[in-house]
Amino acid sequence: MIGVKHLEKKLGDFTLEGINLSVKEGEYFCILGPTGSGKTILLETIAGIYNPDAGSIIINGDEVSSLLPKDRKISMVYQDFMLFPNMNVRKNIAFGLNYNSFQGLEKAIIAEKVKETAELLGIYHLLERDPSTLSGGEKQRTAIARAIITEPKLLLLDEPLSALDTGTKGRLRQELLRIHKLKKTTTIHVTHSFEEAFTLADRIAIMHGGKIHQIGSPDEVFRKPNSRFVADFVGVENLFHGKAVVKDDLAEIYVNGLKIISSILRSGDVSVSIRPEDILISKNPIYSSATNAFTGTLTEISRMRSTVKLVIDAGIPFRVVLTKRAYDDMELSIGADVYLTFKASATHII
């Protein structure tokens, strides 16, 4: 178990204030927060790069806050890979096998471990390459291999997917999930992407301004945000659970009797979300192919500074955002019947 108690740290403009966390053995724990919320410093303080000003850090029952990073049985992966440019992929991965309890490990065993880990990450063919010749995804696979080869008690991931393009991001996310299922290493993963946290985490902590605002399962945090900040930050509105069936090149998702068409081909039990700003509302129907069109009743209007948020009940409640101008032009009032349209490609399936 990993415990962080009343942790305080001031570093330049950043401060950590009274951080309390407890991560269970084998848990995948995400710290979710916007840029500048102090997530990386929290991770680096747990790693021992910085000494806390106050509080304690406990890894597997041992108080480690006075130990050097090397004695904490942890590994760290950064957003920007941090592969040692003066070593090839093989030497990068094997780096940790030269120290601590691995010191004096036989060459054959090192080679075997490197092979095993590289195969797990699908980078065995890259072992002799120079890190500068790798793609972003390959670099991060190498960094992950380097981190897990020492079998740490705690794996610290600092925005590990943020520097990757969308396709690679998705693939590597699946890899992280697969490796975690296999190794069951307790993991703390820091990210600003709700989607990432939602798909990977057993539990999420929401962090902002150097403080933890809420801790819970992704579902809890999403459904019952305990503060305005969490609600706004999590901000995934229009999330519905349903059953999906793939037909031709589209998926049909049945949510409470409503059929939502999605361009993401997934079947079975899914959660689908549609961004409020991607939904078009009109007084007359708009038809086109690959489009979702529903009728509903306007049940709620809330005016924000420059936008207006509407809730339209179409069997399920859709939240829609309009600019003030568009709202005024439409002359809407509570109880009005309106048409909702959104593209199949505007749906997200989690």
Partner: protein, 262 residues
């Protein structure tokens, strides 16, 4: 006819300056014929000066490296109160005329109790070859610090963080990651420091004096022989110093200066 405009004026000045510098160098190396130049270069006095200059400059460069690496590392990596003040003081020798630094050295080593103590335990700096090393070190350390500091600042500290989490002590992490990555900066700094050490005159003159065949480095040999009217020996010393500048420039161009860092 083409109009003489701004472009032509700047180009003309550029050519004029190039010719001027080229003439300086050419005038020195063509002043004597090659036979007498060779004879003078192999003369015992110039041979002594070459050896002394090489030895002292190599030692002072090594001292600069060993001192500059930890000191510039702490300046690059840590924040502490008074950092700006300390950094300014450490930069001072760059702006200070070497002869003033030399005067300071002479007073510190020649008149203070600490200087006396060092002399008692055998570290005599005043009017000795050891003084040459100390003078070169003092004048050059600031530049070495600056080069090393910007080198370390250009290397992401996260390399060391990762190495530490993988089992390195902070020192091992430094030697396994940042130090090898700083290779080009160290090399560039060493070449500059060495070449400046070879040519250092003012501070050496003040602390080590100008004693023939004792504290006679190449610049001192040039100065002593000019004073006594031995122009050919002075030119031999100058020619070697020009050669060293040439080699330094060449090494710099080849290594791409200090620009090529990770």
């Amino acid at each position: 006819m083409q109009k003489i405009g701004f472009k032509q004026i700047t180009l003309f000045l550029m050519i004029l300056l190039t010719l001027f510098i080229f003439a300086l160098v050419l005038e020195i190396i063509t002043h004597t014929d090659s036979v007498s130049l060779a004879t003078n270069v192999v003369s015992p006095e110039i041979q002594f000066a070459i050896r002394l200059s090489l030895m002292t400059s190599v030692i002072s460069t090594l001292m600069c490296i060993f001192v500059a690496i930890p000191v510039s590392y702490s300046l690059a990596r840590y924040n502490f109160p008074g950092k700006t003040l300390i950094s300014t003081i450490l930069d001072l020798p760059i702006a200070l005329p070497p002869i003033v630094a030399g005067l300071g050295l002479l007073l510190v080593f020649g008149t203070t109790a600490a200087g006396q103590y060092l002399a008692d335990i055998g570290l005599k700096f005043v009017f000795t070859p050891l003084g040459i090393v100390m003078a070169q070190f003092t004048v050059n350390i600031s530049l070495m610090l600056r080069i090393m500091r910007s080198t370390f600042e250009g290397i992401n500290p996260r390399y060391e963080h990762v190495a530490q989490t993988l089992g390195c002590t902070p020192f091992q992490a430094f030697t396994k990651t940042t130090l090898p990555l700083a290779k080009n900066g160290i090399l560039a700094g060493s070449v500059i420091t060495w070449s400046r050490g070879m040519g250092e005159f003012g501070a050496v003159l003040m602390l080590a004096g100008a004693t023939r065949m004792k504290t006679e480095t190449l610049p001192i040999a040039l100065y002593l022989n000019m004073s006594s009217g031995e122009l050919d020996l002075a030119i031999a010393a100058a020619t070697i110093l020009i050669l060293i500048s040439g080699v330094t420039l060449y090494l710099f161009e080849r290594k791409g200066g200090i620009a090529k860092l990770y």
